[in-house]
């Protein structure tokens, strides 16, 4: 098996079993650098599990994962983060006792040198500046000193995105970032995604077709742990099989 060159992300025959349940079966996925991809599929299709395997939150049962040509299948999560892979979580996994700015600062600091420091950062500290900018990017500057536990759900989702943008990401996995957002927040989210620098690719899991089709160049359809269709947004929208399975509304979760 030789690695295809010039790919940001390459999955070959990735499977994940939880006991008897095959959450992922033989997933083949290729994403170019800078590519924006949407993954659609009903609840329980295995989308989050796919992300967990890619980030190293848990290892796949079999198969290989390459990140920018490097085989990262057996790497721990922090090694993949160090190589520019980021993600957001579907459920909130934030540092709830800390302020918005501190959350982003920790994310920025984690990928930098000198994580273990007893010296307070100055206001002019480069990482602190970056953190401030990221907080502004996701429109949280008004609440930057608020404890995360006091934020609204939508604001917590925004913060997840700011943390994923920290420290020169090359590729980001967004797990249902628009879920539970207000229409305004949704528009802001779309603006953030489309405004990302061109070299930053991402995969976005999104239930809302409108959002998914506006922020992606290609769409991958998943069902029961398998990929069953891949194509341009327009093709996917018109595909009868997709319409029956997903857009019919019955399987919509």
């Amino acid at each position: 098996m030789t690695a295809e060159t010039g790919l940001a992300l390459e999955l070959r025959g990735v499977s994940k079993r939880f006991g008897a349940l095959a959450a992922l079966s033989d997933i083949e996925l290729r994403v170019r650098p800078g590519e924006r991809r949407a993954v659609l599929g009903s609840n329980g299709a295995g989308k989050t599990t796919l992300f967990n395997c890619i980030t190293g939150d848990f290892p796949p049962s079999s198969g290989a994962i390459r990140f920018f040509g490097e085989d990262v299948t057996s790497f721990p999560a922090q090694e993949r983060i160090r190589r520019g892979l980021r993600r957001t979580y579907q459920i909130s996994l934030l540092f709830t006792g800390l302020s918005v700015l501190d959350n982003v600062y920790l994310a920025c600091r984690g990928v930098s040198r000198g994580r273990f420091s007893f010296r307070r950062p100055r206001a002019s500290d480069a990482l602190m500046q970056t953190a401030e900018e990221l907080v502004t990017t996701v429109h949280l500057q008004e609440v930057r000193n608020t404890r995360v536990s006091d934020l609204s759900y939508g604001q917590q989702r925004q913060l997840e995105i700011a943390m994923a943008l920290s420290g020169a990401p090359r590729f980001i996995l967004f797990d249902e970032p628009a879920a539970g957002l207000s229409p305004t927040e949704r528009r802001e989210l779309i603006a953030i995604l489309t405004g990302l620098p061109g070299h930053v690719g991402y995969i976005i899991i999104e239930h809302d077709m409108d959002v998914a089709l506006r922020v992606s160049e290609r769409v991958t359809m998943m069902h029961n742990g398998r990929i069953f269709k891949e194509g341009k947004p327009a093709e996917i929208e018109d595909d009868p099989e997709v319409q029956a399975l997903y857009l019919g509304g019955a399987a919509h979760g």
Partner: protein
């Protein structure tokens, strides 16, 4: 805590550090500085001195529990160990054991060994979570207590050491009420400031991140175990300094100082004050010292047995835990919040 929130570095960024200190600090600081002018020796030495030292030991627990999410019952043991070491290396009435080394060897050496012990205990304890951390540190505290009681070669058994005195530095008798008051105040303020400083440094922020979500911190590239163990070491240093001063204050150290009762008292003090902010440790210590000093008199004047003061402290503890899990600090916050609300509409009067 709301008063202290003005310490917020982001909001205060443009002002210099003197302007950043909130007014409440100036008032309290001034009051503490001039207190010897009007307070008697008993208040200075017993009430305030003890508050500062017990507050430091509780502060070391607050640092671990409030920022690190690790409840250690061994903090009194670290304080006691430092006190014992000063007695062993330095001077005491037990000349057969005490080495009589000069203070500038004795004190740093005692503190270094205490930090080493705290690091070791931390290294063991961070393998556990929640209730198991409490159990393992309690077991260590109990083991140390029984060991000191039975070991006569080093710890002089049941009797411990007496006549342990601070050095006559700069020609001052540091055990005289006023000098001791300032000595204890100085170290309490230093420890408080160090904790406050660290809480906003990358180390402290990361520690709080570890408290909230250790897995994500690990994924971000932080060494979770190293941060936890380092927190134990730092907390051990604070407890150690408090322990040495406590030993000088009573001029003695014995197993009674480090028993299970005192170990739990430290937890009670920290919880009464509140674990959310370092000031809570001193607030809790002040209440505890007042209760311990005057509850007996109050009970006797009410015609009750004076021995029931532990019951009073226990009831206080229960009431606070029941009405405000965040201790007195949390209570203060809630009262203040209510005061800021319009009594008719319930809306905030001033929305910052």
């Amino acid at each position: 805590m709301a008063v202290l929130d003005a310490f917020d570095p982001a909001r205060a960024r443009d002002r210099n550090w003197i302007e950043r200190v909130p007014p409440a600090y100036w008032v309290l600081g001034l009051l503490l500085l001039v207190m010897p002018a009007f307070a008697g020796d008993f208040v200075l030495y017993q009430i305030m001195g003890w508050t500062f030292l017990l507050g430091m030991i509780a502060l070391s627990l607050m640092f671990l529990a409030g920022y690190g999410g690790m409840v250690s019952l061994a903090q009194m043991s670290f304080a006691g160990l430092a006190g014992y070491l000063v007695a062993i290396f330095g001077d005491s009435a037990i000349t057969a054991i005490s080495q009589g080394w000069p203070w500038w060897i004795t004190i740093p050496l005692s503190l270094a060994l205490t930090v080493l012990a705290a690091t070791g205990v931390g290294w063991l304890a961070v393998r556990t979570e929640g209730i198991y951390t409490i159990m393992i540190t309690l077991a260590i505290a109990a083991a140390f207590f029984y060991f000191t009681r039975q070991n006569y070669d080093l710890f002089n058994g049941f009797q411990g050491f007496n006549t342990i005195l601070p050095p006559h530095l700069f020609g001052v008798d540091w055990r005289a009420p006023v000098p001791f008051y300032y000595l204890a105040l100085f170290w309490a303020v230093a420890a408080y400031a160090a904790v406050l400083y660290l809480s906003r440094a990358p180390f402290g922020l990361a520690l709080q991140g570890v408290r909230d979500n250790p897995r994500r911190m690990a994924a971000l590239g932080y060494n979770v175990t190293a941060h936890r163990v380092a927190a134990y070491a730092f907390a051990g240093l604070i407890a150690g300094i408090g322990g040495i001063l406590l030993t000088w204050q009573s001029s003695q150290i014995s197993p009674g100082t480090i028993g299970i009762g005192p170990a739990i008292d430290v937890l009670v003090v920290a919880v009464i004050g509140g674990l959310r902010h370092p000031i809570g440790a001193f607030l809790g210590a002040f209440i505890f010292v007042l209760l311990k000093t005057f509850a007996v008199d109050v009970l006797i004047s009410l015609g009750l047995s004076g021995e029931r003061f532990q019951l009073l402290i226990g009831l206080c503890f229960l009431a606070i835990v029941f009405f405000s899990p965040d201790g007195l600090l949390g209570l203060w916050d809630r009262l203040r919040e209510r005061g800021l609300r319009d009594p008719l509409t319930g809306r905030a009067k001033d929305d910052r």
